[in-house]
């Protein structure tokens, strides 16, 4: 938080200057539920960018190639395709409603060696689907107790290892991460590894478990590390060390003294995601007030940036933002009490090879690039 001078932004040791590139979406006073973006994902080459929303619609953007008649359009993402992926269904047979929100989009590798995908939309089960068999799935994790009164923990996120297709991890509401090898047992209720940071029992509060709940887990591109996001921090774990994370980065520690209000307005249950840059040298995650945070793992510097319409002039540099936790507020600082908790950045994505990022701010998609790009 001690800002490195000059507003330089971190990545891979070189100072970057993040600039506004594009924004997609309407400026709506009241945002319709259907327009809320629920997932953002670059394809493996980075040439395509997909978004999904709560209305079940997918929009795919494609990066423009160089065009002499429109020199500034190079590198812009423009609409390639859009479709209704999921429709709200009413199952007449069972008289029940089925949600259409897109929870996650995953691009398949071109030579699709991975023929399976995980679905973890519910809190208690992980199912494995073969891409060609759509009417049934294989249940691999089931933590539902016989009596719901005994429920103490739910699954919060799951992901396949990027290189070892038999390995998956899933995280829990208690802040634990379990690594499972599907080759060692068909039903992965018993884990191969259990990652958990021991808490200090003397400092436990009512909120401790809630804020330790892991909202996202992401493997590094190298497959050596994984990153977890809990309410206040991002942790990097070495897959060879289960006892504690190797890095902890504070996202918005100033919220610790606001937990009561955040519990009352349900914000404490917000599920923030996190992502790695292509070389795994930097990580990014969102926060409130349309702020998002980047941490450079090599220079150990971090920065807070904002996705806002006010700062949307083409190639305008993003100025680092600062939150004043207490005491005298300096010029250009934002005080904790004036943060807008309805403006939450839950979903971000980083281009796999370049310094281009996509940030979903409710119903708008912002694309930022490094000036040098």
């Amino acid at each position: 938080m001690a800002g490195a001078g000059g507003g330089g932004c971190p990545s891979g040791g070189n100072d970057l200057q993040w600039c506004f590139s594009q924004v997609k979406g309407a400026v709506d006073e009241d945002v319709a539920e259907a327009d809320v973006i629920s997932t953002v994902e670059f394809s493996h080459s980075g040439d395509l960018l997909a978004t999904g929303d709560k209305g079940g619609r997918v929009v795919i953007f494609q990066r423009e190639q160089e065009n002499k008649s429109r020199p500034h359009s190079r590198g812009e993402y423009n609409v390639y395709s859009t479709f209704q992926s999921h429709e709200p269904e009413f199952d007449y047979l069972k008289s029940l409603e089925i949600e259409e929100k897109i929870n996650k989009i995953r691009w398949l590798p071109r030579q699709s060696a991975a023929r399976f995908l995980l679905s973890t939309n519910d809190d208690l089960r992980i199912n494995l689907w073969h891409l060609e068999i759509t009417d049934r799935s294989f249940n691999i994790v089931d933590i539902k107790p016989a009596n719901m009164e005994e429920l103490t923990e739910v699954i919060t996120a799951a992901e396949f290892h990027p290189h070892q297709c038999n390995v998956l991890v899933y995280s829990s509401s208690k802040g634990t991460i379990r690594l499972c090898d599907m080759r060692s047992s068909a039903l992965c209720d018993r884990h191969s590894k259990l990652f958990e940071e021991p808490g200090d029992p003397s400092s436990r509060s009512f909120f401790s478990e809630i804020i330790s709940s892991v909202s996202d887990v992401k493997f590094s591109h190298s497959g050596r590390y994984m990153m977890t996001r809990d309410y206040l921090s991002v942790k990097v774990w070495d897959l060879n060390m289960e006892s504690r994370p190797v890095e902890t980065h504070q996202v918005h520690e100033y919220l610790r003294s606001k937990l009561c209000s955040l519990y009352e307005n349900d914000c404490i249950f917000d599920k923030f995601e996190c992502c790695w840059n292509g070389s795994d040298s930097a990580i990014m995650t969102g926060s409130y007030n349309n702020f998002f945070r980047m941490f450079d793992r090599t220079t150990w510097r971090d920065v807070t940036l904002e996705a806002s319409r006010e700062n949307s002039k083409p190639r305008a540099s993003l100025k680092p933002r600062r939150v004043c936790a207490g005491g005298k507020r300096k010029k250009d600082e934002v005080s904790v009490d004036s943060l807008d908790f309805s403006k939450k950045i839950l979903h971000t994505a980083w281009h796999p090879a370049e310094n281009i990022i996509a940030v979903a701010a409710t119903n708008n998609l912002y694309i930022f690039q490094d000036k040098a790009n």
């Binding site: 973006i37 978004t51 609409v79 937990l259």
Partner: protein, 151 residues
């Protein structure tokens, strides 16, 4: 502030020591917040952080049909009748299947996403490297070019 958890080195104030200090200072606001919450809701926290908050968490947002929930107990029950939600409408998973009257009304949203149409830009031919869309019928010369209406 970021912290690296390394092996202990007693010579200088290490990252770990800084972390300990910060944690101790950090727990004071957390405890104060807990006291605030208990003062507002005295009945809360009978089971500290247990199923109370999990139930609140599971209830957050809309209740939806879960095919896993529907099919797993059905597989166990076979010929028995499926139970419907009893008096406890707060259970959203488990052997209780939500019935239509327990679900809020939903509107369908078969409208193009605004991400695909905003900001409004002039229609222009796209220099697309993608293969053209195959047409079912051959074009007559008087018909407009395909692909010219892409946003």
């Amino acid at each position: 502030m970021s912290q690296k958890q390394e092996e202990e080195s007693p010579v200088e104030e290490t990252g770990k020591e800084k972390q300990d200090t910060q944690e101790k200072e950090g727990t004071l606001p957390e405890r104060a917040e807990e006291a605030k919450l208990k003062a507002r809701y005295p009945s809360l926290g009978q089971k500290l952080g247990g199923s109370d908050f999990l139930m609140k968490r599971l209830q957050k947002g809309q209740k939806y049909f879960d095919s896993g929930d529907y099919n797993m107990p059905k597989a166990k029950m076979k010929n028995k009748q499926l139970p419907s939600t009893g008096p406890d409408k707060n259970l959203v998973t488990g052997d209780h299947i939500p019935t239509p009257q327990d679900l809020p009304q939903r509107k369908s949203s078969l409208v193009t996403s605004k991400l695909a149409s905003y900001p409004l830009i002039a229609v222009r031919p796209r220099p697309s490297p993608l293969p053209p869309v195959a047409l079912a019928m051959p074009l007559k010369p008087s018909l407009p070019e395909p692909g010219s209406l892409h946003p």
